[in-house]
Point group: C2
Chain length 135, copies 2
DNA sequence: CAATAAATTAGAATAATTCTTAAATACATC
DNA sequence: GATGTATTTAAGAATTATTCTAATTTATTG
């Protein structure tokens, strides 16, 4: 997509989620929400920013990714202790985790079905179901 | 179970897994392998040891839990970044994760069925399937 | 029991993340 | 558009979970 148009799209996308479209947030959103599904770590984003000549800080990348996740624009996926992934694919889907490469890959939505959920403890509801297939 | 008998059981249990039954390992194994299923963190074990007057160190608890996990006596479960759980239940089963309490609970074995796994990438095999139901 | 190998410990080192605070930026109002 | 107030950003300090290091202690073998 064209640059001006894309910037406008990203701006509306943030605003519609109640996030003020500041310069840094727009820059990072521009890196992440380009139409392709991604699984990024904080380090990935810092490196992507560096390559795109976006001047920012480690703290701001953490802040921004956490805000996006809290607003539902990113999904946090935890498969290994001490390493958070952020997934731009918001549809219901699950993951392959390549153990030797520390890398996530989407399992196409609908491919996996979880059957036979038992009753939940009283007063609880399902927040999410996460299936990780370690390969 | 009686104490002497139990110590003997734990000793054999470690030996059968190729782990030398040293004093610390026997003590920690005694805390964990008492016949009830547990999900412990390193901090939990340190506290359990303190209450049982077992003199040890943080490093040794890490070493011991990692060794037990490597030997297949414990299963490491990761649901939140920066917090490792060790599960004494080795049978095939999945977990409820109480988000507000940072606590795991077993979903009875066989209750959950994962259907529709897609083909794996070439040269890969399934190491584990982990289902976490966040409640 | 001596020699050798392995385990244990305390504290240092590392890694991921959060916190703090001063400076910069965004927004609403005039 | 200038101005005042609230929010954001950035750099580094602080925190947390974990691993590493090296010296001491414990276990095993001959």
């Amino acid at each position: 997509m064209g640059n001006t148009e894309s910037n406008q799209n990203v701006k509306s996308y943030l605003q519609n989620s109640g996030i003020r479209p500041t310069k840094i947030r727009l820059s990072i959103a521009g890196l992440l929400f380009d139409g392709t599904d991604k699984h990024v770590t904080v380090d990935n984003v810092i490196e992507m920013a560096r390559l795109s000549k976006i001047k920012t800080s480690v703290a701001s990348v953490y802040n921004t990714l956490n805000q996006f996740a809290a607003a539902g624009l990113l999904r946090r996926v935890t498969v290994e202790q001490g390493k958070a992934f952020f997934d731009t694919n918001l549809s219901e889907h699950h993951h392959f985790f390549y153990e030797d490469e520390d890398r996530l890959e989407d399992i196409p939505m609908g491919a996996i079905q979880v059957e036979g959920l038992p009753d939940l403890p009283a007063g609880r509801s399902i927040k999410a179901i996460e299936v990780t297939v370690r390969i």
